[in-house]
Amino acid sequence: MEVHDRQIAPAQGGSSGGVISLRPLQLSDVDDFMVWATDPDVARFCRWEPYTSRDDALAYIAGTVLPHPYHRAICLDGRPVGVVAMERNEVASNACRGELGYVLGSGYWGRGIMTEAVRLAVAEVFGGARPELERVEAVVDVENKASQKVLEKAGFRREGVMKKYFVLKGKTRDAVMFSRLATDDDS
């Protein structure tokens, strides 16, 4: 395995071939956004259909991304190649938990980039970006094995399988619940 120049921060992904970092996504990132947002392989397990219009992408960034409680572009050598986000529950009794979501351009799959991005995001939210969070959880389609592996490698615990949990693009799906707590030890 090649050894790349090390930096203290942002983090280094060993086999990723570059420096992985997180930063807010901007309107000016729309063309990079369109690379993964138009890809049906990326959209397969997502609630959304592939984007077909740059204007739709700009509206999404302006309306959903910019005001979001925690939303970050995953950057490889400074260039957005995906996103990671943590939802917020408005009901006070549920505010201790946030649901994690993420996508990565299919050209970057299989290189450990998403695992590193998830680690960085979890460290940020538990480190002060979302001080109310005790629990980060992820709900993953039972067939999305790659995403389950990301979470396992990022130190999440598999809590169980929930049958007929949600509807995705018209079909009822079984899902796996994963979680990582603010108090979990690094794995």
Partner: protein, 178 residues
């Protein structure tokens, strides 16, 4: 175990005239302890809850023994992409605990609710890790334990580990074998 003739257990919509019976269990801290409800403090609150919450509810039933309301079962369906699942909640007056009433009420609910709410394919219950009695009720009613959700929610200010149980529209309601 002291017997109740469980064939006397029935489910029906709430009525304004249930207010006193409703207050006697919804006003009991021991019953509301594991519930999100705040304990009711007056007949006026009971009337208001029946009128404003129970009666317009998507699916809430009074659990009756004979003609007396001794508890409730609520089903809260999701919407949008979550419309295939619904959360169940229930409570029974303390003097009716340990007699199979809650289990019977849940079995009756499971036999009816999927017909009433055709989008719902999954009913799920969140139960405190220390609420053994309620876990037993769910297991006897045929629910499957999906797993333990760690530090999932606050209940009255305390962060809770909750078991998640589920029952699918394709599951079989156990026959009354009490």
């Amino acid at each position: 175990m002291e017997g109740v003739d469980l064939s006397a257990v029935s489910l029906r919509p709430f009525r304004i005239s249930d207010a006193d019976d409703f207050l006697s269990f919804a006003g009991d801290d021991q019953v509301t302890r594991f519930m999100r409800w705040n304990t009711l403090a007056s007949r006026e609150e009971a009337l208001a809850t029946i009128r404003d919450v129970c009666m317009p509810h998507p699916w809430r039933r009074a659990v009756c023994v004979g003609d007396r309301c001794v508890g409730f079962v609520s089903i809260w369906p999701g919407s949008g992409d979550d419309r295939c699942r619904a959360d169940i909640g229930y409570g029974v007056a303390r003097e009716w605990w340990g007699k199979g009433v809650a289990t019977r009420a849940l079995r009756m609910t499971l036999s009816q609710v999927f017909g009433d709410l055709p989008d719902v394919l999954r009913i799920q219950a969140f139960v405190g890790a220390d609420n053994k009695a309620s876990q037993r009720v769910l297991e006897k009613a045929g629910f499957t334990r999906d797993g333990l959700l760690r530090k999932y929610a606050y209940l009255k200010g305390t962060l809770q580990d909750l078991y998640l149980y589920s029952f699918l529209s394709t599951d079989v309601v156990p026959a009354a074998a009490d």
